[in-house]
Every structure is written in structure tokens, then in C-alpha cells.
């Protein structure tokens, strides 16, 4: 095949694939601006006859999605802060501080990755019930506070810091906390961003656990609210699309802004996930 033919075929293939991945998302946006019932016609309209924000108004005024948006935002932010606190110190210690049983504990943690999280969910629910944490924000946050993937990510990155740097600080009389805060943390910038975006997206998109723990409508996150809304309002397609836009857009924008860090984390995790 000549080069021109190949160029055409490859780029046409890419264009077709991109059209398939983007079409549903673009169409979601378009339908969300349509008048109620407008999308239920044949052939399916691609653009609204006259774009209106009516669905968004109804969504926030009548279905309580505004509240759920705030819940999702708070939970994802809190999960991110907690994950940074717990995983970064642990990841650093596994990489750079010698302590008895370090390698063995790390191997056990890695081995635990094979256990699906759902196995722990029922006893965890009962445990939280005993602690009075069912139907609370804290109950949603607890399983995401520390996780093996986050620790692994930070450990891999931290290993590249030269030991001499840490030793020099210790020789100068810095304590371990000082070494961590003033020598290690400043070099961890990129991996902190990676860990933050992974945790934020994971928490924002999570469904099963918040569905189990949050029974009160007022506490629902966006995915939980959207799922129950779509079971109630089967006919209101335009409203559902507006709800989907509100749910998807923040994470999509966040990804576009921090794409490089997300992809780096994905690749680091796949090396030995």
C-alpha cells in the first residue's frame, strides 16, 4: 500500500473511532438544552430547536440536584485530602525508611489488591452501623482514606529521590519529620497531583458504596441521585441528560486540565498493578 493510502486509512480510522467515543457525550449536551419531549421523536433531532436552560432550572429547583452536587464536591474533596495525608506518609516510609517487616508488609498489601472491595462491604456496613456512621459523610469516606494503590504510587515515585539527599539533612541534625516535610514533600509535587486527581475522580464516580451507606436523599451523591432519578423519571429524557451533564462535566474538565498527571499515574500503576 502506498503512503498516501495508508495516511488516509489510519486517519479515517482515528476519526471514526473518535466520533464513536464523542458522539454520545456531545449528544447528551445537545439534548440537555431541548424542550421536554423534544428528543422523543423520530428521526432523533441532533440539535435543539431553540436551546433553553429549562431542564437545568428544573433540575436544581425541583429535584434537589444542587444539594447532591454540593455533597459530591465535598466528599470528593475530603476524600482527596484524606488520601493524601494517609498514603503519602506511608508510601514514603515504604520507600525510604527502614523498619522491621517492611518488605513483608508491603508484599501483603500488594497481595490484597486481588481481593475485590465488594467482599469487605457487608461487614464494613455492619461495623459502621455499630459506630453510628451509616448515613453519614464519614461513613462514605472511611474506605477511601488509605488505599494500597495510592501507597504504591507514592512509593514508586519516592524511590527515585537520592538517599544522599536525605542523609545529608540527617547529618545536619534534621529529625525525621523535618526531613519529610522540608526535603521529601517539595520533590513530590507531580505524584501528589496524580494521587489527588485519581482519588477525586474515583470518589466522584463511585456508586455502589455511597448507594449502600447513604439512605437519606439529602446526603446522596450525584451518581446515586441520578440513578434513582432515572428510575423515577423514565420519560424525561431531556431532564436526565441535563443531570448527566452536571455529573460528567466537572470530572471531564478536571481531567482535561490535569491530563498529563492522570496518564502518568495510570501508566505507573500498570507497570506492576
Amino acid at each position: 500500500m502506498n503512503r498516501r493510502g495508508a495516511t488516509f486509512l489510519v486517519n479515517a480510522g482515528l476519526l471514526a473511532a473518535a466520533a464513536i467515543t464523542l458522539c454520545p457525550l456531545l449528544w447528551m449536551v445537545s439534548v440537555s438544552f431541548m424542550a421536554p419531549g423534544e428528543a422523543s421523536s423520530f428521526p432523533p433531532p441532533f440539535l435543539p430547536e431553540s436551546a433553553s436552560l429549562g431542564n437545568y432550572r428544573q433540575l436544581f429547583a425541583q429535584t434537589g440536584m444542587g444539594r447532591c452536587f454540593a455533597n459530591s464536591l465535598f466528599l470528593a474533596t475530603a476524600a482527596t485530602v484524606l488520601a493524601l495525608l494517609f498514603n503519602v506518609t506511608a508510601g514514603y516510609a515504604f520507600a525510604k525508611l527502614r523498619f522491621a517487616g517492611r518488605e513483608r508488609i508491603f508484599r501483603v498489601l500488594l497481595g490484597a489488591l486481588i481481593i475485590p472491595a465488594q467482599v469487605a462491604m457487608i461487614p464494613l456496613f455492619l461495623l459502621l452501623k455499630e459506630m453510628g456512621l451509616v448515613n453519614t459523610y464519614l461513613g462514605v469516606l472511611i474506605p477511601s482514606m488509605a488505599n494500597v494503590f495510592g501507597i504504591f504510587l507514592v512509593r514508586q515515585y519516592t524511590m527515585s529521590i537520592p538517599d544522599e539527599l536525605l542523609e545529608a539533612a540527617r547529618v545536619d541534625g534534621a529529625g525525621e519529620m523535618r526531613v519529610f516535610v522540608s526535603i521529601v514533600l517539595p520533590t513530590l509535587g507531580p505524584i501528589l497531583v496524580t494521587l489527588a486527581i485519581f482519588t477525586f475522580l474515583g470518589s466522584w464516580n463511585d456508586f455502589l458504596w455511597p448507594l449502600i451507606v447513604l439512605t437519606d436523599d439529602d446526603l446522596h451523591t450525584l451518581p446515586v441521585a441520578l440513578a434513582s432519578l432515572s428510575r423515577e423519571h423514565v420519560q424525561d429524557n431531556e431532564l436526565m441528560m441535563a443531570g448527566s451533564v452536571v455529573t460528567v462535566l466537572p470530572v471531564l474538565v478536571l481531567f482535561l486540565v490535569l491530563q498529563r498527571y492522570y496518564i502518568q499515574g495510570l501508566l505507573a500503576g500498570s507497570v506492576k498493578g
Partner: protein, 297 residues
Amino acid sequence: MIRRGLEPGRAGWLFVSPALLVIGVFFFLPVLAALIISLTDFDIYAVADTGNLRFVGLRNYLRLLETPLFWKALGNTLLFVVIGVPLSIAASLGTALLLNSAVARLKGIFRTALFAPVVTTLVAVAVIWKYLFHTSYGLVNYGLGLVGIDPVDWLGDPRWAMPAIILLAVWKNFGYNMVIFLAALQNIPGDLYEAASIDGANARQQFRAVTIPSLAPTLTLVSILTMAGYFQLFAEPYVMTQGGPLQSTTSVLYFMYEEGFKWWNLGAASAVAFVLFLLMFAVTMVQFWLARRWSRA
């Protein structure tokens, strides 16, 4: 406040213990408890008062084997995995090869576009696709109509509901592995292709002799991770079909959720969770074993 003079060994423990404590109490302990609960008749009465709890041995597991819906859910989940994973990997590899091609234009933009579904919220895209699959107004049937295919009742027909969910899952997930494949393709040394072409290998022979063997370790890893993900099918049937029609999309996790949090049969639900875990574990081991045999052959 940690003072200077603290030796690294103590500091190490101090630094890891918060995370280990959380993982221990909120993951390892519950996993162990799940095993124990699966051997009891934990139900709504035990939720109210654990005094009602009785040890029943393997009865939950034996009863599962006699529950037709459990077998149905197992079959549905296996169908989802066996069809969905290869399709997903094929789409990932295909797009990665296109992106890696020397003649591809606007690579960065295409990569971002193809990856976008990965970061979207599963529940939201399930809501979108439920509409795309609408029998009369959905874009999927409209597209099929253009090439002369009659409308399919995607989510209302037990034969088509699972294929519809598989299409959604492939659309949502293939970008993830695409990025991994792309990185692996870029790591293949150019000399290998040069040597092959000097030996007279054409493009297709180069692909079989150089590309595929170089990708083998990545392929193993990707298929293990992807399979683990596909076994955890839940949100798609929850949003799109509620397990129907005729229970054709009830997955193992959906069954567990209903058993546990709708009927509060937590003992039985824990047994379901363990069966799923054992199944995933077994499949992973088989893949490792196959990969090792393959690499020796």
C-alpha cells in the same frame, strides 16, 4: 510532634501506622468477617439483634448452588466477561496501533478524545446509553435503520440486553488499556523493525514477528486487570435494566446487592461475595499460568 533524634526505624512505623491501621480495620478485618458471616444465617433479625445469629456451616453456599437466579447471574457475568474483555482489548489495541502509526495526525487530540469516556461517571453514561438504545428514538437504531436494519428492542429483549451493556462497557473502558498499549508500543526499539525489514519482512510479518511478541507481557497484565474489572459488573444493569428483562442482565454483584441490601440476607450475600472472589482468583491464576506457558513455548 516528632523530635530530632528519632531513629528511622521508629519513624518508619510512625509514618506507615495510620494507613496500616485504616487498611487493617476497614479492609482486612471486614474481609475476614465476611468469611465468618458467610457461615451464619445473618438476616434482618440479626441486624436488629445479633443474639439471633446462628452458625450454619456451609449452608449458605449449598443453598446458592440450588438457587437458579444465582446460576443465571453467574452465567450472565461470565458472558459479560468472556465477550466483553476480548472486545475491549481488541478495541484498545486497534486504536493504540492507529495512534502509534507514523502517518497519524493530531495524535494528542485523538488520544484525549478516545480516552474521554474512561473518566466519565459510569452511572451518567449508563443513563445516556439507555437513551441511545431506545427502541424508537435511540440513535443506535436510527444508525442501524440507515443501513436497512430493523429496530432492535435492545434493553427490552432478553437476547439483546446483555450485548447492549457490553457495547456500553467497551465504549467506556477501551481508552484505559489503549494508553497502556500505546506506551508499550512506543517502547519497542526501532532496531527490531529495521532488522526485520532488512530480513525482508513485510508490514504484516513485522507485526507478527516483532509487535505481538513485544506486547505479550503487557497483554497478559492488561487482560488480568480488565477481567477483574469486568467481573464487577453492577451499575450498568442497576441503571439500564434493573437486572432484566427476564433476569438476563442480573450480574453476580447485582444479585449480591439485592440479596444483601434489599432482602437483608447478609449471610447469603457474603457467601455470594466470596464465590465471586474465588472465581476471580481462579481465573487470574489460570491467566498467569497460561502466560508463563506461552512465554516458554
